[in-house]
């Protein structure tokens, strides 16, 4: 029995909308309109994924028509992809079309990450959108990656990276 975990994100920053000026008093903020963010330009697609331990279903909805579209996936943090990285190469999609892909997964220990990259030529040129999805649950004690901890410098906790200096 599959117990899918819904993993959903939008390639176009879809964190809601904001209609008040940041930093100013907003007497009637609402969840629907108060948490908007201003993100970087990306391809006009929405990317979602449902994942089990063995496979993921990736859905890409094209908000704008795209041509010469490549859809590729990448496994990181121990996640392997037996089916390879390319889900689509050089394809065209019409406005509003949703492409669905099944992606076999071979998780490593702990929690991995499935990265989905959609690149193509859209009405405004070549664009890419990237979204990533967590696969599996963190192993006991599995830390965040690349976390060397902090060191006190003066009275301040600092994320300190050692480097070599040249002295003469």
């Amino acid at each position: 029995m599959k117990t899918p975990t819904l993993l959903c994100a939008f390639a176009l920053l879809a964190l809601g909308c904001k209609t008040e000026t940041a930093g100013r008093e907003d007497p009637a903020a609402s969840p629907k309109t108060a948490n908007g963010s201003a993100g970087k330009p990306q391809a006009p697609v929405e990317i979602e994924a449902d994942a089990t331990s063995a496979s993921a279903t990736v859905r890409v909805r094209f908000v704008e028509a795209g041509s010469n579209v490549d859809v590729r996936v990448n496994g990181v943090d121990g996640l392997s992809l037996p089916g390879g990285p390319m889900l689509a190469t050089g394809r065209s999609f019409v406005d509003g079309e949703t492409a669905v892909f099944d992606v076999p997964l071979a998780p490593g220990p702990g929690q991995g990450m499935l990265s989905v990259h959609v690149s193509g030529t859209f009405p405004n040129g070549r664009r890419t959108a990237v979204r990533a999805f967590l696969v599996g649950k963190p192993a006991a004690g599995q830390p965040l990656k690349a976390d060397p901890g902090t060191t006190m410098v003066g009275s301040e906790p600092v994320k300190l990276v050692p480097v070599d200096a040249a002295q003469k």
Binding site: L6, C8, A9, L13, G16, C17, T19, E20, T21, A22, D26, A28, A29, S30, K32, N35, G36, S37, A38, G39, K40, P41, Q42, V63, N74, V76, P85, M113, S115, H117, S119, F122, P123, N124, G125, R126, T128, V130, R131, A132, F133, L134, L144, D147, G149, T150, T151, M152, V153, G154, S155, V158, K159, L160, V161, P162, V163, A165, A166, Q167
Partner: protein, 628 residues
Amino acid sequence: MLFPHSGLSRLGLCAALAVSACSSNSGPPPSNQPPNGTITAPAADTTVAPGGAVTFQGSCTDPDGDAVTHLWDFGGGAPNSTAQNPGAVTFASAGAFTVTYTCTDSHGLADPTPDTRRVFVETTGTFTLGGTLTFDKVRSTASGLDYSSITQRPLRGIQMAVVRAADTTSVLASGVTLADGSYSLSWTGSSAVKVVVFARTSTPKITVQDNTSNGAVWAVASQTLDATAGSTVSLNVPSGWNGPSYASRASGPFAVLDAATEAVLGFQAVRPAVVFPDLEINWSPNNAPVGPQNGETPEQAYAAGHISTSHWNGTALYILGKENVDTDEFDDHVIVHEWGHYFESKLGRADNTGGPHGPGQYKDPRLAFSEGWGNALSAIIWAPNTVYTDTSGPSQGQGFGFDLEDNAAIDSHPGWYSEASVQSILYDLFDDSGATEPFDGVALGLGPIYDVQVGPQKTTPALTTLFSFIAALKAANPGEAAAIDVLTEYRGVVVNSITDAYGSSETNGSGNNGGSTDNLPVYRLISVNTPLVAPLVGGDSNNLSQNRFFGFVGDGGSYKVQLQTPTSDDVDVAVYQTGVVVARANGPTGNETSNTFTTQNNAVYIIVVTGFGAAGAYQTTVTLLPGP
């Protein structure tokens, strides 16, 4: 093959033994392997006072199982020792001593890579260190990061410190680097020190911190230095790229900081008096384009690195750093784009709706202006590099780019609702294109653009759009007004010269209506108790066709706004006075009434109706009612 130091060849040895033991079926003769020694104590370089002792312990393994001997060379700080564990060793004199532990097997083969520690016998005195601080910057291209093109840029205006090596909480001296990355710090105290360089500037205060580590500021620290050994210490923060992957991400936060610094310097070059509020930039190798997980609060999502994308959230910047997925620390234009949102938020004003957007889409003109501003600013700051690039993917080997000078290619639907149109106009207002762009006869530079952004664009009673910006820019630069009109009318972004902040000159029959007569006029005048129909079209709630603007002038009375929607579509309303929400209704239906608000006499109020319908045409009726 020889047995090292034995004087016997393997073949010679075989000849003296039973033939069967050296038959060809037994494989190649084994060779003697060197031992491997490790200093198990101390675990790292150590600092002591003169006469202080350091406890040394060693461990040596030999793959052949040979007996081993030990040699500790204390670099002249103490007599050599042949014990495996010399125990407490006293260093009598000040200085820096390299301790080397070498073990040797019974054949005389020594560990080829003996382990070392440095012992700093600190003395006190007055010392000065100076030098230059730089960082590795990897070139961003439209096809990925180019690790073959790494340049060392100066760390400008960076906070730094000299700390006691034995105790980094002991700050001996602190200062700020100059524009060329140089520094000079003097102190009286220990001679055994480390140089710490923070990813933080002083003026303005920009801090690059790790949101996945409780907001700790990023920094690098040198190895322990003996200040008596030389007064010049220079340091380059490496990219950490070793070919297939990153060994460290040391220069990442400094690259982010450098891009933000470049933006600050760009404005200060034309308006030296500008004061920038403090800025926190959150960058981490854990920051991935992962959305908030079920049950995660926004704070928890940020702490886990689930930042969705690089963005400004109204308070701070969040920048992607997930290797092999999406990293932005070297994507200069991305950083400045997001910095542009900080600028709007803290120094100017952005009525940006947020939400999905892309160049050429028919978007709410508030969003189109804000996002176009971010893109244009990235090219302005990095000019003459006008190509916006964004890299991602395995080994950061993918990407895309667009040239802000290429007006036509990136703007399939030119209009006042297109961020591509906005960015092209803003960049052309800035640059001096000479004769290459006959439609661009204006070259204002950044100063006048800044003046409008922090002045009339901030205080406009209208919403912040291309109309409000251009109207103010023309008013402030009347000698350039005709050229500005030519620029804004190029490719029909607007059909008629912009005459006011409300886009009143764009009318149906004579204007760019974005493909629908419902989109003009941009603002409609609304009167009390006079219902107006707002036609809407389903889709993203920040689409042009999902937002309708109405305006009225206050008379000191109290009012509320009623929505009546015959379909089941959700519709919200907000009332603004100079960009500030004074009333709204944002329930789950399209039939609701805002809270009552009291108007100021002669103040302009803008009613924004926003639809959330999924698809198809629908409408709502808007009525301004007297309150309460």
